[in-house]
């Protein structure tokens, strides 16, 4: 087996890779509620965490799990929950609380088909817009994705790093295919993994303001129990953390919740590209569908069709600049996804309608085979 | 009588923070010695010398507005 990077080679499911990534990132608290196809994340962590002195708890429902990880995060722990479609819906309100109170935590959604109970054991990508807009109220959102067990491992670590750096909940969206496919994962040496920890207060408790308005827009929340006594609330609050009715303070807070993600977009967004330089047909694909797209682009090239792939690893904030750059080069964009065009809509917006955007949506619980995408590209050509 | 007691037992000092008092009248209604009165919608200490320091007005004041020393 040839490795392009140093580390220990192991075979594992995407869901197990997620658990391994969480541990590597320093996660020592998991709360969840069983749901297919995410349960292996909980099962693995229920074994791993107590061995490391970490805490695992199976809560009574998804809202409880989301609340518990926020509570744990406020004591300074890196905390995680994992779920799937219906559970993700149930977590929305509490996820919005984490955005409002600026509590770092990670939520993994192993996407299955919906709406409602839908297809518990089959893949879909139907929650990508819910990840952005599912909770009520304006706020910036970070959502990552992964197309393999290897990427799930790496993106889980990155999710924790982004959560800690920007003091926000971070969502990792994988799908049933990625979660349940067993494949090679290279686990790097711990010393080769970048780990981010949240800011610590640089002032004594007397002069400490948890939500102090700073140039970096990121608050400093001291862990409970360390002598900094402050208030955390989901109500609109001012720098002190106490509720406010002052219109200026409210405007500042809500704008900051969006701006604190926007101003770091260039640091957060990462894309992979395949043969995009001279492409005439651009493909925009993410998650497990990106693997289909890689194969399809190669087949097209063999056939003489100049196809190229833009593959975002971060769905939110949306990679608007990269999509616009692609739109200015290609004649058309094809967006294959396991939904009826949720991201195709974003691609159209980002490309400013400069090129036709073609949807290829599959919602029957089957993955999109490369041949289906190749046919779509041929049709577009 | 009061003078004689004062050596061992100081008379009560009841303080009402009228900024915090919301005028619920609970302190007035349940004072066993009828020391308190309502005035202008707030509690007023009318007869402090009668106070036996049972503390019930302080304990039952929802507004953190009464202290008894």
């Amino acid at each position: 087996m040839s490795n392009d990077r140093p580390g220990k080679v192991r075979m594992m499911q995407g869901n197990q890779a997620c658990a391994e990534g969480a541990i590597a990132a320093g996660c020592r608290f998991f709360a969840g509620y069983p749901i297919t196809p995410s349960s292996e994340i909980a099962e693995n962590l229920s074994v791993m965490l107590p061995r490391l002195g970490g805490k695992f708890i199976q809560m009574e429902d998804e809202m409880a799990a989301m609340g518990a990880i926020i509570g744990a995060a406020l004591t300074g722990q890196k905390s995680l929950t994992a779920t799937s479609g219906p559970g993700f819906s149930l977590k929305q309100e509490t996820k919005g609380y984490a955005s409002m109170a600026e509590v770092p935590c990670v939520i993994v959604n192993v996407m299955r088909g919906g709406p409602s109970t839908g297809m518990p054991t089959l893949p879909a990508q139907m929650d990508v817009q819910q990840a952005r807009w599912g909770a009520h109220g304006d706020r910036g959102v970070i959502a990552l994705t992964a197309k393999s067990a290897q990427e799930t491992y790496e993106q889980t670590i990155r999710a924790f790093n982004l959560a800690e750096r920007y003091m926000t909940p971070v969502i990792l969206l994988i799908d049933e295919i990625t979660g349940h496919t067993t494949e090679k994962v290279i686990i790097p040496d711990a010393s080769d993994i970048e780990i981010v920890h949240r800011k610590k207060p640089d002032k004594d408790p007397e002069n400490y303001l948890p939500y102090r308005f700073t140039d970096d827009c990121i608050p400093t929340l001291a862990p409970f129990g360390t002598g900094y006594r402050y208030n955390v609330t989901g109500l609109c609050h001012n720098e002190t953390g106490f509720p406010t009715n002052d219109s200026n303070e409210i405007q500042c807070l809500i704008e900051r919740l969006t701006r604190k993600i926007e101003i770091y977009e260039d640091d957060i967004i990462r894309n992979n590209e395949l043969m995009l330089e001279d492409a005439e047909i651009g493909v925009f694909a993410y998650g497990s569908v990106a693997r289909t797209a890689q194969a399809a682009v190669r087949i097209c090239r063999e056939e003489g069709i100049k196809a190229g792939l833009l593959e975002p690893t971060v769905l939110w904030p949306f990679p608007t600049k990269a999509v616009l750059a692609m739109a200015q080069k290609v004649r058309a964009i094809v967006v294959p996804e396991l939904n009826l065009g949720q991201m195709a809509r974003e691609v159209s917006l980002a490309s400013q309608c400069s090129v036709p955007v073609h949807k290829l949506g599959r919602v029957d619980g089957s993955p999109i085979p490369p041949q289906q995408l190749v046919e779509k590209i041929r049709e577009v050509v | 009588m009061a003078g004689e007691q004062s050596a061992s037992k100081k008379p009560a000092v009841i303080t009402v923070n009228t900024n915090w008092c919301k005028g619920c009248e609970i302190c007035v209604a349940f004072c066993p010695k009828d020391c308190l009165e309502m005035e202008g919608g707030k509690c007023r200490v009318a007869r402090p010398d009668d106070c036996i320091k049972c503390m019930l007005c302080e304990l039952r004041c929802p507004d953190f507005a009464i202290t008894v020393e």
Binding site: F29, A31, P50, R51, G53, K55, I57, M59, E60, M63, A64, A65, M66, G67, A68, I69, I70, G71, A72, A73, L74, T75, G76, Q77, S79, E93, Y97, P223, F224, G225, T226, G227, R229, Y230, N231, V232, T233, G234, L235, F242, P243 | N19, W20, K22, G23, C24, E25, I26, A29, F30, L56, L59, R60, C61, P62, D63, F64, T67, V68, E69
Partner: protein, 271 residues
């Protein structure tokens, strides 16, 4: 003289509660008990949900967490498991804990996790304008039960006992010294402990139910509360229209975070 000010966030006073609301009375009992037990303000966390009672944390100078409707116990569970050295107090209400948060309430009791839950039972949703709650008495008036409430009420303490709580007590806002004792025992208990505090809401409940004045509501507590000891000797007829206060359950059983600590110890690789 007891100095409440060292425990409160004076800048947030006067508080938002209506005149004669029991919530301030209960908070003061809690503060005196914390003081008596010497609870460290730095190492105590208060978690609440949504409603009048849930505004309590904003007034107490400790680590405070005001969460979403019904979920206080879930957040508190995360705090306690992540750092079992912290004292975790949940302040909640009848609607918050037994309607929208009912699932968390019973499961925390079943788990017997070391939380102290102060549940202010005022029979109504006060903050949102007097809608009926799971404890609104049958026949009582509420803004969503203007023809009289058709539903029977929850017995909250009974629910906690049935679910497995190790300490359950009921107190009320009139009998403040007794309330202090009950809160003290609950705070000292290693396990899930509930103090259900019957607390008057003159504004949203009283005005709709012929008890418009705070004094009248307190008188009603004075006249209807019976100690558990006395209750045992009363006939069914005598108990009518009254309720008992005191310790309703106090047992020893394994506590979740202690059991978890044992698990970690067992998993520790041998040197």
């Amino acid at each position: 003289m007891f100095d409440y000010l060292q425990y409160v966030r004076q800048e947030n006073f006067p508080h938002i509660w209506c005149a004669g609301c029991g919530d301030g009375i209960v908070l003061k009992a809690l503060i005196r008990t914390m003081d008596k037990l010497g609870l460290s303000q730095d190492e105590t966390v208060m978690v609440s949900g949504i409603g009048c009672s849930s505004r309590t944390p904003g007034y107490v100078d400790i680590n405070t967490l005001h969460t979403t409707h019904g979920r206080a116990i879930a957040f508190a569970t995360g705090v306690k498991i992540a750092n079992p050295d912290l004292n975790v107090i949940v302040v909640t209400g009848d609607g918050d804990a037994t309607a929208i948060g009912g699932n968390h309430f019973i499961h925390a009791a079943r788990r017997n996790i070391d939380l102290t839950v102060l549940l202010y039972n005022n029979y109504i949703y006060g903050m949102t304008g007097g809608q009926c709650s799971p404890t609104t008495p049958r026949g009582a008036n509420a803004s969503t039960a203007q023809h009289g409430n058709l539903e029977p009420a929850f017995n909250i303490s009974g629910l906690a006992i049935a679910a497995g709580a190790s300490f359950v007590a009921r107190g009320d806002a009139y009998h403040v010294k007794k309330l202090e004792t009950l809160i003290g025992k609950a705070l000292q208990k290693k396990g899930f402990s509930l103090v259900e505090v019957v607390s008057p809401c003159p504004t949203a409940f009283g005005r709709r139910n012929k008890m418009a004045s705070p004094v009248k509501m307190m008188e009603q507590l004075r006249d209807t509360v019976v100690s558990v000891e006395k209750w045992e000797k009363m006939t069914g007829e005598e108990r009518k229209g009254r309720f008992r206060t005191g310790i309703l359950r106090d047992i020893e059983k394994p506590e979740f975070t202690a059991e978890y600590a044992k698990l970690i110890e067992k998993m520790r690789p041998e040197e």
